[in-house]
């Protein structure tokens, strides 16, 4: 039990970082109604880009911006494959993801992983977030505001703030319409193709930013760090919706619930590791089962519990 309590701040920090990725997934999966598998690749692209640039001594904000940029590029590729080449969205994402495997290796100089040398205090001090800081804050070696929960929490709020603003603009509203009803959007003069590409870019930009934060936090990037990212993202979206959907109606709060969903996911995973003593190799299997279960609940509900008086829309996604 003490083990679990001790690991809690770390789990929350990780959950917050993955929460930013999950917000990216929310944009494609919930708003655009596209299951985008690019994220499994672009998450690592962001991490790799960040670590390589950081090791070169580049300013950390430039590194983060670069990560965001390559993520958006990955989204652009998927978007063009889907809209210009007419490839189904899910397959476009798989193609980009596969291609990114090589790209990620190339960014990391054909190595499977690259690390930040945090033994070097000067390097460590340049970081915004690090697993090390969790303990250092507790020991009083660093001020509280350097705690990863605080820093990533601020990042999350900033991301939510920007997205809340964006989806309230004319362009943002047209993006929501694109996902809600493409026919209606086109009839209202909205170029749905451009909007899909834009949404995929924003989404993957956030995913790569999240990857950059994670590689910073764990002080390394490796080719497999994004494996199953889409499932974690979906898990966060679903958990957030299941727990807070009835209370959180506002768009900003919906995004917040996604982030909270990711935190809960990581805390539960941590609990499973520390309390149930399960080999962590089984985590991906457990995650897959949990997400499959949650995705099937609305369908079963619609099938077997339909036609309740008063309940009109069954199995609706809204």
């Amino acid at each position: 039990m003490g083990n679990f309590i001790g690991a809690l701040p770390g789990a929350i920090s990780q959950g917050l970082i993955w929460g930013i990725m999950a917000i990216g997934v929310y944009i494609t999966y919930k708003i655009l109604d596209i299951a985008d598998l690019t994220v499994d690749g672009s998450f690592c692209t962001g991490g790799a880009m960040f670590v390589v640039l950081f090791a070169e001594g580049v300013n950390i904000w430039v590194c983060l911006l670069a990560a965001l940029g390559v993520g958006m590029l990955a989204g652009l590729v998927t978007g063009l494959l889907h809209t210009v080449c007419g490839i189904p969205a899910i397959l476009s994402g798989i193609l980009t993801q596969l291609g990114l495997w090589s790209v990620n290796l190339a960014i990391m100089g054909m190595k499977a992983n690259v690390a930040i040398n945090i033994i070097d205090r000067a390097q460590l001090d340049r970081l915004l977030v690090s697993l090390r800081f969790v303990r250092e804050v507790v020991n009083g070696d660093r001020p509280f505001y350097r705690h990863p929960i605080f820093v990533v929490g601020l990042f999350t709020l900033a991301v939510i703030g920007v997205l809340y603003w964006f989806f309230g603009t004319e362009r943002g509203a047209s993006l929501r319409a694109t996902g809600a009803n493409g026919n209606m959007a086109r009839a209202q003069g909205i170029n749905t193709d451009v909007n899909k590409v834009l949404g995929l870019m924003v989404s993957n930009g956030l995913v790569a930013l999240s990857g950059a934060l994670l590689s910073q936090y764990q002080s390394f990037a490796d080719t497999s760090m994004g494996k199953g990212a889409i499932v974690i993202g979906l898990a966060a979206v679903i958990i957030g919706e299941a727990l807070f959907g009835r209370v959180f109606r506002n768009f900003a709060l919906k995004l917040l619930s996604v982030s909270l969903g990711a935190i809960i996911y990581y805390v539960v995973i941590q609990a499973v590791i520390s309390l149930a003593n399960i080999n962590s190799n089984y985590l991906k299997l457990i995650s897959a089962c949990v997400v499959a279960l949650f995705l099937s609940v609305p369908y079963w509900k619609g099938r077997y519990f339909a036609k309740k008086p008063g309940g009109k829309e069954v199995g609706s996604r809204a």
């Binding site: 943002g172 929501r176 809600a180 209606m184 086109r186 909205i190 829309e313």
Partner: protein, 264 residues
Amino acid sequence: MLEIKGIWKTFNAGTVNEKVALKGVDLTLADGDFVTVIGGNGAGKSTLLNAVAGVWPVDQGSITIDGVDVTHLAEYKRAKYIGRVFQDPMMGTAATMQIDENLALAARRGRFRGLRRGISRAERQEYRALLETLDLGLEDRLTSKVGLLSGGQRQALTLLMATLQRPKLLLLDEHTAALDPKTAAKVLDTTEKIVGRDKLTTLMITHNMRDAIAHGNRLIMMYEGRIVIDVSGQQKKELTVETLLGLFSKVSGSDEADDKLLLG
């Protein structure tokens, strides 16, 4: 206002399901014409409207709206000139967005959508007043999700959206077909009001011959991908179901005027 010249459209060309839906249709609408379109199933009515709206490219021919050749223009670009209401009430609105948001989207049809606010306070006031004219109580539900509305309410809203920014051409694709008779009559009444008020050039498909006769200043009937009857002016005013059926059997060469034609 609208000039259609010799348009052809074939679906599933080269397969067993090949269907020549439009066989060289010519049609010219003057400014302010309110044309009703009738015809049996598969006559090409919806295909004609979709061709004008640009849902897909036509195989041959040209379409001009107010002097602008739109034949090769993408659907979303043509939307600048065209207001549309569909048969399916689900199709014309975004169910997961609010009533006011849907209206705000329609208010920006054909304009560049940038980073200005998607909807302003002044707009909301304006929409409230507009919704009042529908007399459906929607003015008090501005921030309700459109998915909560009934089919009739959604069609009335779609109609409002299609005409919020005066379109050069209004396309109504059996927009009352999915509604119960009472609601259908109300939506049709609203249609008549708006078209009359803004003097809109309109193409309205209907499955109901009586509606086709009662509304508009011109009536066309389609049959097997062609326009076979085109009645306007005084002749249109004096039209009855019987004379229309008589005209049809003369043109189509068949004695029995199809029941399907009358019933939809």
